[in-house]
């Protein structure tokens, strides 16, 4: 599976702000983008688009959103699923009720609305610290899922509160085929990741890290702590919101609020814990691990075992292996796979 591997190694090379390996980094990033934008569309099949690449990219984006809030600014959150839901439902309503808006604007608008909701959800962070902050974000997760379920207006009174993409058209191009949806996803992820990269390198990003590493110290040296926390919630929720809209429209097509339940929040959390907190590439590596390893295991077990074992047993076996891999990786490198890759690269050099 060359494209996915290239994605991983390329992004791994694309981070590392402090090392003097700028040419390598640029080259790696250029290679990665060339693969993602040119090589993959030339070779990929429906299966690669719909089952592997699109969900991987979107969950990486959701992880990236959480990473801004939690990895960079240290504000624990279990509300990623809720922010994704807000992004999806907001984009749907923008597309439905303002049909003149172009798709990218609706998508960005959905992200901004999700960001605004994130800002409100983040308000308790001004008084609550550390892991206790999970409680209000958890409340938001349940409340928001419930609201989309109950208030028919959000889903235009569909029988089962389901929303589906009204149209995926950009500049007259119909993007509803798998390649088009991949292009939409990849472009959005690239733009958002580039913005996020600029953001974490800016003064805002430095403020976030200062708050994460020592809130009192940050306050003493004059970092605007409240502003940093709220901006982290805003940025993280906005990115997750865009991921949610893509999940609904570029990946599944039709969803209801159950697609964005607590399990989704946990998935994003595991992605960044395994990939690496406070690392943009970690979001991608973590998503690759969480989203793709089970699929890889399925294909491996089909190839090795054939149909000789009961389907249920094979699945349970895969889960055991998956769990063991997670534990193994976290023991080997508690800071996530991104740190592990960085260490490997340094020893190789």
């Amino acid at each position: 599976m060359p494209p996915a591997l290239a994605t991983l190694s390329g992004l791994g090379a694309g981070r590392r702000p402090a090392l003097p390996a700028v040419p390598v980094r640029t080259a790696g990033l250029a290679l990665l983008l060339a693969v993602a934008f040119v090589a993959i569309p030339l070779t990929a099949t429906d299966y690669w688009y719909n089952a592997i690449l699109i969900p991987f990219l979107i969950m990486a984006l959701a992880g990236l959103g959480l990473n801004l809030t939690m990895g960079y600014a240290g504000q624990a959150s279990l509300g990623t699923g809720a922010f994704m839901a807000v992004g999806a439902y907001a984009t749907y309503n923008l597309l439905l009720r303002l049909p003149d808006l172009p798709l990218p604007v609706s998508l960005a608008g959905g992200g901004l609305i999700a960001g605004a909701v994130g800002l409100v959800v983040g308000l308790p962070s001004l008084r609550i610290k550390g892991f206790y902050l999970i409680a209000p974000t958890l409340a938001a997760q349940f409340l928001i899922e419930w609201i989309f379920n109950q208030v028919g207006w959000f889903s235009n009174y569909a029988t089962s509160s389901a929303i589906s993409a009204p149209r995926l058209v950009v500049l007259g191009h119909d993007l509803s085929n798998p390649a088009g949806r991949y292009a939409l996803t990849l472009t959005s992820v690239t733009v958002v990741a580039a913005l996020a990269w600029r953001l974490v390198g800016s003064q805002t990003g430095r403020n976030w890290r200062a708050v994460r590493d020592g809130e009192t110290a940050a306050a003493v040296i004059g970092v605007p702590v409240a502003q940093a926390k709220l901006s982290a919630f805003f940025a993280g929720a906005a990115v997750s919101g865009i991921a949610g809209a893509l999940w609904a429209f570029a990946y599944l097509g039709t969803v209801d609020a159950r697609s964005f339940d607590l399990d989704r929040s946990f998935q994003a959390l595991f992605i960044i814990i395994i990939g690496g907190l406070g690392s943009l590439s970690g979001s991608f590596i973590g998503a690759a691990f969480i989203v793709l390893t089970p699929i890889l295991l399925t294909h491996l077990s089909n190839a090795i075992l054939g149909g000789s074992l009961d389907g249920g047993q094979v699945s349970n076996l895969q889960r055991i292996i998956f769990g063991a891999l997670i534990i193994g990786f976290l023991i080997k490198e508690p800071n996530g796979l991104a740190a592990l890759l960085g260490r490997l690269r340094r020893t190789a050099r």
């Binding site: 592997i52 569909a158 599944l252 609020a257 294909h299 491996l300 089909n302 090795i304 054939g306």
Partner: protein, 458 residues
């Protein structure tokens, strides 16, 4: 897909060379018959692990046992034998989509005739993909109600019994009990529902029916998962409804039955919906479940002709997919059986037109839209009483719209309704078509005319 499997096969080969026990790569457990004549692929997206495994396992057994019976006793469909493989979804949407994408290309030269999503969220996620790929989705007893309008949803088949029909049949059963629809005036019917998109599906039809017949429509929500319902049933004790329509899911059903018994509400006045009407739903409630009613398009029992034949040819020969033979003839087992009978008859119908060979999705879609399962045909199959008479068309992807009412006698279900309880489809269909038209407008779909299916197939 092919590149991936090739790469993986290489890995598999490498591991087998390294001394790992490798058993014939890419061999399918289902390759049970000789590979001479072309065979029809029948993909199965199963969930044998995860939260819903207990309902999945007997359903797959019903499906697989019927396919085995067809192959071994009847020699396939008109001589075209079936083969299948399983893809585990754990009832999760992403895995379901992955399975669909993996299986949709067909296998060993046979295209995919029909796909059984087995889950409401995944069937939604596949709605548009299935149109692009021209693979019909067969959803029995679940799925989007508007998909009954095949002019807007050409590849979604909400066959048998939609949630709207479920609600209407329950009202009609109550009408039978109180002595006619004109006696429904003033009757209090409380719907206790799982507070989810699925649970709310019956609100619109019940509103309409309440307006038509004048019964009092009370809606009571139970938040997921529903393992404490004392507040809801305390309210029911206050309201004193004549009947309770229970639309549960998972643990909610046994808890509702137990709580009803505790608060003194007569259990034989509770009618469960499709997903509150299996053995797995009632058994955990214990002895207080005795007398509980449920409406279902999947009547339980082992006395249907076809179940007897399967028992003799498959189950008694030790060839059943069931590990626990107690589930033979259960609601879920029979649901798999019924679903497969419909799919197979659709393939048979399409074979009559396109030839006795493995068919693709487009051809099976034609077969589904021209499926006629009348009493005579059902007798031939041995499924009369088990499958309701069906007649599908481009305008009507539901076909039947009737259920049987079962009653729990403490150990098993008994059918208590007088045959199939029909729903008021003539009342509901206009509203369903209206909603489908609204969906078409929102999505920019031009509905097919009634006969394009015919024209497209020519």
């Amino acid at each position: 897909m092919t590149r991936l499997s090739r790469a993986l096969r290489a890995v598999a080969l490498a591991t087998s060379l390294a001394g790992l026990p490798a058993l014939s790569p890419s061999a399918s457990a289902a390759d049970e018959t000789g590979a001479q004549a072309p065979k029809q692929y029948f993909p199965l997206a199963t969930f044998r692990v995860g939260a819903y495994a207990s309902s999945g396992i007997p359903s797959w057994a019903g499906i697989i046992d019927y396919l085995r019976y067809l192959n071994e006793v009847e020699g396939g469909i008109n001589g075209v034998k079936l083969f299948w493989d399983e893809c585990e979804t754990e009832w999760a949407v992403e895995k379901g989509v992955e399975c669909y994408e993996r299986q949709k290309g067909g296998r060993e030269g046979s295209p995919v005739p029909v796909f059984l999503p087995h889950g409401d969220p995944v069937s939604k996620a596949l709605t548009e993909k299935s149109v692009a790929d021209k693979i019909p989705l067969l959803t029995t007893g679940y799925g989007r109600t508007e998909a009954i309008d095949g002019r807007v949803f050409p590849y979604s088949f909400t066959v048998l019994f939609s949630f709207w029909s479920e609600a209407s049949s329950v009202v009609n059963y109550i009408a039978e009990q109180v002595g006619g629809k004109d006696k429904l005036k003033g009757v209090k019917i409380a719907t206790v529902y799982h507070d989810s998109p699925y649970g709310k599906e019956t609100q619109v039809p019940l509103d309409l029916l309440a307006k038509t017949y004048g019964f009092e429509n009370i809606q009571i929500a139970v938040p997921h998962p529903g393992n404490d319902q004392s507040a809801q049933w305390a309210r029911i004790r206050q309201i004193k409804p004549d009947w309770v329509f229970l639309r549960g899911w998972g643990v909610m059903t046994p808890v509702a039955i137990k709580t009803a018994a505790k608060t003194g509400f007569p259990v034989d006045r509770i009618i469960g919906g499709i997903w509150s009407g299996s053995e797995e739903d009632v058994r955990p409630a214990g002895s207080v479940g005795k007398g509980y009613l449920a409406i279902t398009p999947f009547p339980a029992g082992q006395d249907f002709e076809i179940t007897k034949k399967i028992k003799a040819a498959i189950v008694d020969q030790g060839k059943s997919d069931l590990k626990d033979l107690k589930s033979f003839g259960s609601v879920y087992y029979n649901s798999g059986l019924i679903e497969t009978i419909i799919a197979v008859e659709a393939i048979r119908t399409a074979q009559a037109r396109f030839g006795k060979r493995p068919l693709n999705g487009e051809e099976t879609q034609w077969g589904l839209e021209h499926l006629v399962l009348d009493e005579a045909r059902l007798k031939q199959i041995g499924a009369d009483g088990l499958v309701q008479p069906l007649r599908l068309s481009a305008k009507d992807h539901e076909g039947g719209g009737a259920g049987k009412v079962l009653q729990w006698d403490g150990a098993k279900w008994a059918i208590v309704s007088n045959g199939w309880v029909k729903s008021d489809r003539e009342l509901l269909l206009p509203v369903i078509y209206e909603r489908a038209a609204a969906y078409a407008k929102e999505k920019g779909i031009t509905p097919r005319s009634d006969d394009t299916a015919e024209a497209g197939a020519r």
